[in-house]
């Protein structure tokens, strides 16, 4: 018989003593109840300490808390540690505060209800079993996919912390999109020089192995035991075994110049960067002709105008200050929310850049071989003051659509990741877990999540490196078996669960004989395949458990019995 210890939490007076007494009195003296103690505030470190001592002294094997919400205790246990000697899964909570006292108006009914809740909790505690804790050794090895600035910055940060990095690049050189950029908006140095420096730092670093002209072909295994098959352009293949993987494949630019947009006056931001870098101050020449006025037309192609805003203001300032050009920035919205942008924007205005806000897209026409932009400025406060304007500029800089890298879809399939907004890689949680993917041990960073400005990307690279270091630095990954488990005997290999698992934790694997899983590479005698949940990769959501048509999967910490016990219905 289970021996149960009862802890009664007064919750700082929210559960009054007479009420507690009325409830506990019914179970006093029952053989399975070892003791019951009262605490005024059980979720505090001191009380938890006393709780541990009680559990030890009385040799109980289950505990029931009568108090507030289980969430409250879970938070404080996670913070201060579970009371020693007790497996967290052997402890249940009856919520006498929110679900009883505060939810039932009538005192008598509340007592009745609370007693029922207590009995249910005791029943749950005695029918639950312990869940084993384990740990997985992690080697400090990582694979970073993509050799753009995100990949470069992450690789360097990881190497600095003593982690071995394979940096995979499908092209010949490192640098990626940043090589098209000449200047940062918020740093004095030139982008190219900065990249060159970082690349040479990488080549000197013995912890980073750059594997260029290589793509990822296949990925097996899970956190700590990934097996990545990579193929070089010349067809040779190699297998790497990183503990964690970072995806930093960046984005692509889609240049769509049809109809009037094919006119020679239109150029892209990237072309403008090159033009600015190639020309000698103080005169800007394009195809031998002097450029005196430039208009920036910020489109709505990307759903976010941040990058275009930064580039437009940055280039406009350079054009005004170094090349004496008149600049006009036409936009529906302008976003100057990044660090230092407000200042740049003000400076551009002070130097005479015109900012025109439109509601309806400007009309474009060709007048005397030049592009004329007709637009109504709606930035005036009064409606009557809105001006129709015609602008003739030597050059018009246009926004390009920033789209996911074409390999994204294929990579997602290989890596078992999800695609989110507009086809980019999806993060686990856009607010809280920005650089984690849906799979444990795989991170997504930089422009492959959504197009970003360089400074943002570098911040994100730092954040990602921190996450990877935090994961790997301990050398082990502690986990417990509160996960799903397949009974290979029952599995019909219908492939429902591998498809449904949001964390790609299920694969069809080989078993030697009944219920004996063969770790890949060890032993012979492959008999049959069945689904297998990797306990390190599983988040314990139970989706596969609910869906398996053969009822072959159980959630170890919440089997059917515990669900039925919670329903508290007759059998």
């Amino acid at each position: 018989m289970a021996r149960i210890g009862i802890f009664i939490d007064g919750m700082g007076g929210s559960i009054p003593a007479p009420f507690r007494e009325k409830i506990v009195s019914v179970i006093r003296g029952l053989p399975e109840i070892a003791f019951s103690v009262e605490e005024e505030n059980l979720a505090s470190p001191g009380a938890l300490q006393r709780m541990a001592e009680h559990l030890k002294a009385e040799e109980v094997d289950r505990a029931v808390i009568l108090g507030g919400s289980p969430k409250l205790y879970e938070t404080s246990f996670n913070k201060f540690g579970y009371p020693v000697l007790l497996n967290p899964y052997l402890l249940t909570v009856a919520n006498l505060k929110e679900q009883t006292l505060q939810a039932v108006a009538n005192e008598e009914e509340a007592v009745e209800k609370a007693r029922k809740m207590m009995i249910k909790a005791i029943h749950l505690a005695s029918s639950s079993g312990p869940i084993e804790s384990r740990s997985l050794p992690l080697t400090p090895q990582t694979l970073v996919i993509g050799g753009g600035i995100t990949g470069i910055a992450i690789a360097l940060a990881l190497a600095r912390s003593g982690i071995q990095v394979y940096l995979l690049e499908k092209g010949k050189h490192l640098g990626g999109k940043a090589l098209e950029l000449r200047r940062f908006y918020n740093r004095p140095e030139e982008v190219q020089k900065w990249v060159e420096e970082k690349v040479s730092e990488i080549s000197r670093n013995s912890r980073i192995t750059v594997i260029s002209e290589t793509e990822l072909k296949r990925l097996d295994g899970h956190l700590g035991r990934f097996q990545a098959t990579v193929r070089k352009a010349n067809g040779t293949e190699a297998v790497l075994s990183p503990s964690a993987i970072v995806v930093a494949t960046g984005y692509e630019v889609e240049r769509n110049r049809k109809g009037i947009y094919g006119h020679r006056s239109f150029i892209s931001f990237a072309e403008m960067e090159t033009l600015l870098a190639e020309n000698e101050i103080p005169s800007l020449l394009r195809n031998g002709k002097r450029v005196e006025s430039v208009a920036f037309l910020l489109g709505e192609v990307n759903g976010d105008v941040k990058i275009d805003s930064i580039n437009a203001v940055k280039q406009s300032l350079l054009l005004q200050e170094a090349f004496q050009c008149q600049t006009v920035i036409l936009c529906k919205d302008l976003k100057v929310s990044s660090d230092g942008m407000e200042r740049l924007y003000r400076r551009a205005r002070e130097r005479g850049a015109l900012f025109i806000k439109f509601e309806e897209p400007p009309k474009l026409s060709i007048v005397n071989g030049q592009i004329q932009v007709d637009v109504k400025d709606t930035s005036a406060i009064r409606k009557e003051d809105e001006w129709p304007l015609s602008i003739l500029s030597d050059l018009i800089v246009l926004s390009d659509a920033l789209i996911p890298n074409p390999e994204t879809e294929n990579l997602c399939r290989i890596l078992g990741l999800h695609r989110g907004n507009r086809g980019f890689f999806m993060e686990d949680n856009p607010q809280l877990l920005r650089v984690r993917s849906n799979r444990r041990g795989i991170f997504v960073a930089g422009g492959c999540r959504f197009p970003q400005e360089v400074s943002e990307t570098l911040n994100e690279a730092g954040a990602t490196a921190q996450e990877v270091i935090a994961l790997l630095s301990g050398g082990i990954y502690p986990y417990d078996l509160s996960v799903a488990e397949v009974d290979p005997e029952k599995c019909a290999v219908c492939l429902t669960c591998p498809r449904l698992c949001p964390h790609s934790a299920i694969t069809v694997e080989k078993y030697a004989e009944k219920n004996i899983y063969i770790t890949p590479g060890i032993g012979e005698g492959v008999k049959w395949g069945a689904a297998r949940v990797d306990p390190v990769a599983c988040y314990g959501c139970g989706i596969c458990v609910g869906e398996c048509p053969a009822k072959a999967i159980t959630l170890r910490h919440q089997p059917d019995e515990l669900i039925y016990a919670q329903m508290n219905l007759s059998d």
Binding site: S69, P70, K71, N95, K97, E98, Q99, T100, Q102, A103, V104, A105, E109, K113, K120, H418, N429, N438, L500, P502, H503, Y539, G540, C541, G542, I543, V545, G546, E547, L555, Q558, I563, Y564, Q566, M567, N568, L569, S570, D571
Partner: protein, 136 residues
Amino acid sequence: MVNFEPKIVAFCCDQSGYPAADMAGGLELNFPGNVEFVRVPCAGRIETLYLLKALERGADGVLIFACYEENCQFLRGNLRAKSRLSYAHRLLEKIGLEKERIEICHLATNCGPKLAETLHRKSEQLKKLGPNPAKI
């Protein structure tokens, strides 16, 4: 049937329904008398069988409190729950039981009032429908 107090089994997703129930209690919004909360890690954990078994074992109604669509921590657990619910509805129709007895309600952590309101509405509705005839 004067004092019929319907028994409701309320499955609560740990991400939304359960904290919402805590919040409703914290706001001292009364729950109908006969509700059993079942805490599940995700609405995707709820099997079709549980919905039916709950009715079989004596519940008069079943509610699923799941996250709003596109808000599931596990991507589509709430959608799986929804599709299992419609499967359960089809089975109920076949055996001639009112399908209103099982219902899903999408909410978020801060929807305590919505949860309490849904429970009350369900309870009233079940009072009109009468006790579940399929109890064994």
